[in-house]
């Protein structure tokens, strides 16, 4: 009697297959990117999330942990220990904001700034590994960004409405 007369419209069994799921395709490609980045970042002693933090800082140095978190979609529970490790490795400095002692300003050291020139090389390697043209990559990126916003909106919608 288990899955019974079931779902009427009766989604076929294969609808549940891993290979059918968009979420699993996303999950898998995220891991694949991680694997691809790893050897490139290992040379600098960086993890992928640490590299994302540097990408953010190369665009706007000296921002708060909060701002960094907003850009990356991470909270301080993730960022605090990560930034400590980046500081220990000599890539960033963390200083209390004099005008608001609650905040901590994250800024690049010389070592952190210097690494930026290497990032262009990493970018090219990754671009090559994807096998995508700039246009394809850009289109896919925009599709995924839109999907992220759609999912976040649905999520927020569930809480209130």
């Amino acid at each position: 009697m288990k899955h019974a007369i079931e779902t009427q419209k009766s989604l076929p069994d294969e609808a549940l297959a891993l290979g059918q799921q968009l979420c699993f395709a996303v999950y898998s490609v995220a891991h694949a990117f991680n694997r691809t980045y790893k050897p490139l970042l290992d040379r600098f002693g960086l993890t992928y999330p640490q590299y994302l933090v540097l990408l953010a800082l190369w665009q706007s140095d000296g921002i708060t942990v909060k701002t960094l978190g907003t850009e990356l979609g991470l909270d301080s529970g993730t960022l605090s220990p990560l930034l400590k490790r980046l500081e220990a490795a000599g890539f960033v400095d963390r200083t209390r904001d004099k005008s608001d002692e609650r905040q901590v300003l994250v800024s690049l050291t010389d070592k952190g700034r210097d690494l930026k020139s290497e990032a262009f090389g990493i970018l090219m390697e990754i671009g090559k590994a994807t096998g995508c043209s700039m246009e394809e990559a850009g289109a896919l990126r925009d599709t995924l960004t839109a999907l992220t916003h759609q999912l976040d909106a649905s999520f927020a919608g569930d809480k209130s409405g």
Copy 2:
């Protein structure tokens, strides 16, 4: 000599912006899916990776840890503790394979099998949250799956050649 003559073409600074990166779009949508699944899975006391394991088992019950790992792209270092938790929660059983004592067979309990009927509802909720038609979702899934294979192939290619 690596990427050598290189930056000649001189990628502009904005090429490094987070919003420009395909990898960051992937990273972000993966987290967005996680957030969307969380309230749906919390009701059953499941995490998202645990749910993926059940999806695999609903298609083919009684497989080895190794086979499960191949399907999910995970190793025993991740799966062993995860499966222990799934067993403790009563969703699966783990038994040594009599014909090859190295292997452990993972099979669904009644409780684990029963949960399958709920999965169709989760599928629908997620589908709704993505705001995609079946066709759009399928096309995006196929694009991402192809990209995963491309990245894995580049990765493997780096090690040998």
